[in-house]
């Protein structure tokens, strides 16, 4: 038993390394002084970071990504929080079906969703526009917000709301002073998660971008398809850096494993 336990532990550590290895390789590779990407890196320099700053398309794409991810998260949080509150608080007929409907964009392959939205948006003149892009991203973010806020509301003590009502607070005051502060961590997690989902999305975005509006993962994706240089490593490291910061905040608020439905 002891040896099998030890073997399993070693196996576990190796598997975790296997999961992390692509990320662990990218960061050192970005500091190479060679003109081609490799791991282990050849020499050491910051040249691929300075070259990155000279490439306006990456900087624009980063700004676009951040801007759209922020807006998508904002709208997804508003729609999602209102929806989750309604589901949790009121006896709505067909509640289970409504919840499934609201989380169903997750069960449809992103490729199919991308195809559907592109074809649908074209006659509506939304294809290749910022609005179309934003709508698509809100759709993919909504299920996560719904899920996280509903989880946040599952332990909610409605007596607090009733107490406030008895003390004479108006429904709006109750919402601002009681409900919102209590579910704030869930809302923030939902928003952060939505931001990351939108920020990192490639598949749906591929159908939604236009030549003059690209996001960072799309820029990296197309750069990888036609050029192969360490610039991809440095820009990828920037993405990792941004993601790690947000993941740390998310972990403090909610637990990243929990978000994916794993641990209790």
């Amino acid at each position: 038993m002891k040896t099998t336990g030890k073997l399993r532990l070693i196996f576990t550590i190796l598997t975790i390394i296997y999961i992390l290895v692509p990320l662990l390789v990218v960061i050192p590779a970005s500091f190479t002084s060679a003109s081609y990407p490799s791991f282990p890196p050849q020499g050491f320099s910051f040249q691929w970071y300075t070259k990155l700053l000279e490439r306006p398309e990456f900087v624009t794409a980063l700004i676009n990504s951040a801007k759209f991810a922020f807006m998508a998260a904002f709208f997804a949080v508003i729609f999602g929080t209102l929806g989750a509150l309604a589901i949790a608080k009121y006896d709505i007929p067909g509640k289970a079906y409504i919840t499934s409907l609201l989380t169903s964009p997750l069960s449809v392959p992103q490729l199919v969703l991308g195809v559907a939205l592109l074809i649908y948006f074209t006659p509506l003149m939304l294809a290749g526009t910022g609005t179309g892009f934003l709508i698509a991203h809100i759709i993919i973010c909504i299920p996560y917000v719904i899920r996280l806020v509903l989880t946040g509301l599952s332990g909610f003590d409605y007596n607090l709301e009733r107490a406030a009502a008895i003390l004479g607070a108006s429904p709006l005051t109750i919402f601002w002073k009681v409900t919102l502060p209590l579910i704030r961590p869930a809302i923030i997690s939902g928003g952060l998660f939505a931001f990351l989902i939108s920020f990192d999305n490639v598949t749906v975005s591929l159908f939604m971008v236009s030549p003059d509006m690209r996001t960072l993962p799309i820029e990296i994706f197309s750069h990888m398809q036609d050029a192969y240089d360490p610039l991809v490593a440095s820009v990828s490291s920037v993405v990792i850096f941004i993601s790690v910061i947000l993941i740390v905040i998310l972990e403090k608020l909610q637990g990243v494993g929990k978000v994916f439905g794993g641990t209790h």
Binding site: G5, R8, F11, T12, T15, Y18, L20, P22, L23, V25, V26, S38, F79, G83, A86, Y90, D91, I92, A96, T99, L101, L102, S104, P105, L106, S107, P109, Q110, L111, V112, V115, L117, I119, Y120, I140, I142, Y144, L153, S154, Y158, N159, E161, N201, V202, T203, L206, P217, I220, F221, M224, Q225, S236, I240, V256, G257, V259, F260, G261, G262, T263
Partner: protein, 316 residues
């Protein structure tokens, strides 16, 4: 973030939709108010999902039955021709076959690598469990393009793995890891393994530890306990993990495009090409629905097959 989205597949197979706990306290039951204000709160999100998700999905289902010879042709007819074209052309059929094959390999690799990790999580303290969950789940929040680029560096003909294997004298000439099915399976299993682990771990947490103790007391060896108690009881987790990883692999676009290229024309890559490069929208819509239907049929057959097996009692 190709990988994260599919979390909801679990809903179909494992979790019921997250709904708040049923209130048992009679005083609390009164908080359930009339549903009219609730519907008002739901209205924006319902309209949004309906208008920008349900309708587009139905629209391309309709389009998949429209056949035209060229993007701008006006001779559109309502027919099954797109689907007939798909199932009579060896290129599309082989693409479907490759997609299914690569997805099944991905499931197998994820299951073999994932099960022991899930077992470790189930046997660890909540603290360690939390750390493992963080380490395996956090990469899911980094763009799949970035993770694939990492594999690029490792799998290139003159990349890390080939140089190590050559310098150790295991191989003479570089292995074709990139732009091959192996590369795609590595990329996909790496991306989706966390979902497999978390799905299995969840079902392992629910096993009553006294069952294993009981089997030990009754004289079963640890191996015997594992195969007759733990493994069968974790089957629901295994199934939901497999279903999850399978459906995600079937519809992955970025990894096959980057790590398989033209050598591994999986369905999503072919569909993207039809839509974005050839502008054959109605045929692309049909491809999308063939992909969806194949995934659903295979998942149903797989789940039913397991339910009918001798482990059926586990599902009660």
């Amino acid at each position: 973030m190709e990988s994260v989205r599919h979390y909801a597949h679990q809903e179909v197979t494992q979790d019921p939709p997250v709904t708040p706990k049923q209130e048992t306290d009679p005083g609390q039951r009164k908080k359930k108010k009339a549903y009219v204000p609730g519907l008002l709160l739901l209205l924006p999100i319902l309209l949004f999902i309906f208008g920008f998700f349900v309708v587009p999905m139905l629209y391309i289902l309709y389009l998949s039955f429209i056949y035209t010879d060229s993007p701008n042709a006006t001779n559109a007819v309502f027919s099954l021709k797109n689907y007939i074209l798909f199932f009579t052309d060896s290129y599309y059929l082989s693409s479907l076959w490759i997609t299914v094959k690569v997805s099944l390999y991905t499931v197998l690799v994820s299951l073999l690598l994932g099960y022991p990790v899930a077992l470790t999580m189930a046997k660890s303290s909540p603290r360690i469990r939390g750390y493992i969950a963080l380490l395996i789940a956090a990469p899911l929040l980094v763009s799949i393009v970035v993770r694939n680029f990492g594999w690029y560096l490792l799998l290139l003909p003159n990349g890390t793995i080939n140089s190590i294997l050559t310098s150790l004298g295991i191989i003479d000439s570089p292995l074709k890891l990139l732009f091959s099915e192996i590369g795609v399976v590595i990329g996909l299993s790496n991306a989706y393994l966390p979902f497999m682990i978390l799905a299995i771990a969840t079902s392992l947490y629910n096993i009553d530890p006294s069952l294993e103790r009981a089997s030990a007391i009754l004289g079963a060896s640890p191996l015997r306990s594992f195969f007759s108690v733990t493994l069968p009881l974790s089957l629901p987790g295994i199934i939901s993990g497999c279903v999850l990883v399978f459906s995600m692999s079937m519809s992955a676009y970025v990894t096959p495009a980057l790590m398989g290229g033209a050598n591994v024309p999986m369905m999503p890559v072919v569909a993207y090409d039809q839509i974005n490069n050839l502008l054959r929208w109605t045929f692309g819509s049909a491809l999308s629905y063939v992909l969806l239907a194949t995934t659903m049929i295979m998942v149903t057959v797989f789940t039913r097959g397991f339910e009918k097996s001798k482990f059926r009692e586990v599902f009660r």
